[in-house]
Symmetry: C2
Subunit: 352 residues, 2 copies
């Protein structure tokens, strides 16, 4: 091919070493053109059964693995979905990501993971790299993002799903539930149990806007209640851990000696509170009722078993996947169906 058609004759360039099996090799062996192989790979039904068989045989004898990078470049959109969560260590998001990944894998989509550690600047940087992959979709957590992030996403034209929160204006699509409503449910439940001195125990609420919204929903609902109801919001600046829960309960008792009901922004915190009660000889639920959030693994087994609110992390993952796949298949949901409320359920157990 080196025709020397330009101004000067040039030494044929050393081609990069390369021994990888390509689609062309498959095509040669199967005695068809590369386009047919490509077509077969993307839409087997469009190729005659005879040719298909021949191609399949060639693929397996050569051990051909398609190069998705090349495919992504040619198709101007890669088979990748970029998912950005605050933290993968958080069981909530781990569950969602896990489900999402499984669902997307069925359609040959890969998940690229990033975590923002609850930082908007970090998130912005992650979105930037995410877009550099020309992903099939971008999935973010929550509805709070920097203006620059929103601009980047909007300009990109890539489908965007914001998950784990609804109630604001999403960039594109949203799947989740209302956090204030979760807080309200918790408060209503405690009030219905006759508790009048209640508190919300949360962690990292300066950064975790969703937890903060649960707290304010809780406080709002308490305000609506009969008089003689006191309500406190207590925050731990560190991460939501069992240990934080123990600390928070201690602080709550100090601040509100008459405390008779708490809601926690996370089951881990609730578990810590239960432990602290046990340590201090406080009867649960007799003296203090405890409501958690998350319905984590241990909530049925702990002592007493934990009344909690289940946000259905896996359902969120499923719905996000559904939205993304619909978009890829050309069925772009419109209007209200671009926002999906997965709701929440209060599960009453022994702790209230």
């Amino acid at each position: 091919m080196d025709t020397g058609s330009s101004l000067q004759n040039r030494v044929p360039r050393k081609r990069r070493k390369m021994q990888r099996v390509t689609m062309i090799d498959v095509a040669k062996l199967a005695q068809v053109s590369p386009s047919t192989v490509s077509l077969y790979l993307r839409k087997p039904s469009a190729v005659s059964p005879a040719a298909g068989q021949e191609i399949a045989r060639a693929i397996s004898t050569l051990g051909y693995v398609p190069n998705l990078v090349a495919g992504g470049l040619a198709a101007a959109s890669s088979k990748v979905v970029s998912v950005i969560v605050p933290s993968i260590r958080n069981a909530f998001f781990a569950e969602t990501v896990s489900t999402l990944q499984s669902e997307l894998a069925l359609e040959g989509l890969q998940v690229i993971l990033g975590h923002s550690e609850y930082g908007e600047d970090q998130e912005e940087a992650l979105v930037r790299t995410a877009l550099a992959w020309a992903p099939a979709a971008v999935v973010l957590t929550g509805l709070s993002h920097s203006p620059e992030t929103r601009k980047l996403l909007q300009a990109s034209g890539v489908p965007v799903v914001e998950m784990w929160e609804i109630g604001g204006k999403p960039v594109d699509m949203a799947v989740g539930f209302s956090h204030p409503q979760v807080g309200a449910s918790a408060a209503r439940h405690l009030l219905s149990k006759g508790r009048r001195s209640i508190a919300f125990l949360g962690a990292r609420m300066q950064e975790d806007h969703r937890a903060a919204k649960r707290a304010s929903g809780f406080a709002e609902e308490a305000k609506l209640a009969a008089e003689r109801t006191t309500c406190e919001i207590i925050n731990h600046p560190g991460a939501a851990t069992v240990e934080a829960g123990s600390l928070l309960l201690g602080r709550a008792l100090q601040q509100v000696p008459s405390l008779d009901g708490i809601a926690c922004s996370n089951d881990l915190i609730a578990l810590g509170a239960l432990f602290e009660c046990q340590r201090q000889g406080i009867a649960v639920p007799d003296r203090i009722a405890v409501v958690g959030f998350g319905d984590l693994d241990f909530s049925t087994s702990c002592i007493p078993s934990l009344t909690t609110i289940r946000p259905s992390g896996d359902l969120i993952g499923k719905e996000v996947a559904r939205l993304i796949l619909a978009g890829i298949h050309g069925e772009h949901p419109a209007g209200a169906s671009r926002i999906i409320d997965t709701g929440h359920v209060l599960i009453e157990r022994r702790s209230t």
Copy 2:
């Protein structure tokens, strides 16, 4: 350019619609060649400060986002590290993946995540897609893989790190610790506390080979002990959850009424066992001593606080990242330094 040099004249092809800002746009605006822009992006120091500034300005005015897919294709290796874990819901792996992701992000590497659900076939499929991304490295969990998986990996020439286990022959590199030794440490600790009727409680050990190895290390060590020592291994076929722990303790007591010490393959199981003891009025550690594995969040706070073995999931993540980055920078570790033992630490608390 459409020279019509081939057999027939052809209508100039409709070019694909395209409005994305490319490197060429940046180059034009900065009045340099595209190569210089590319060079600047990859190695800013190789470009004169004047040109560099010009390019930087152009990038920001155009809002240029490099296309990593194109870069990956041209460079024959994408800035992606494919990580395959059994389950991201498992706190151990969540921790490692989280750390790994953070470390790699510092060097502009992305993590593509897959989970195998402890299935070798699933893992093989994941490895296949992973390789389709021409990743900078592949990270797997454990040393047990299907022969086909090993063959695929070896043939690919991509750096491979197997994590969370050492003690066998890795495909390429390994970072982790010896699971039999963990089991042995647990047994030794229980024996040192005078326990003679001990059991190992594990979950899903038919699939989770590492848990099974901890169990057999435990049993081996028990065998070496003074006579009159009995040792049982009890398996729960489902996932390692708190609930499973409660069930397992019940079964253990049934099988070994004289039970006075247990080791669990996971802190969640240990926590479930603690709860069950509390429910049945069994004193821990007086009647039964409990050793966990994982040093999870709650282990310090639960009642009694849990003696456990810390495997340092974040250290594993860090070391995996180090190995990968060294490889990318051309420093290929050789020989023994391709296997890194992150060890384990037994942390004694109140439960023994």
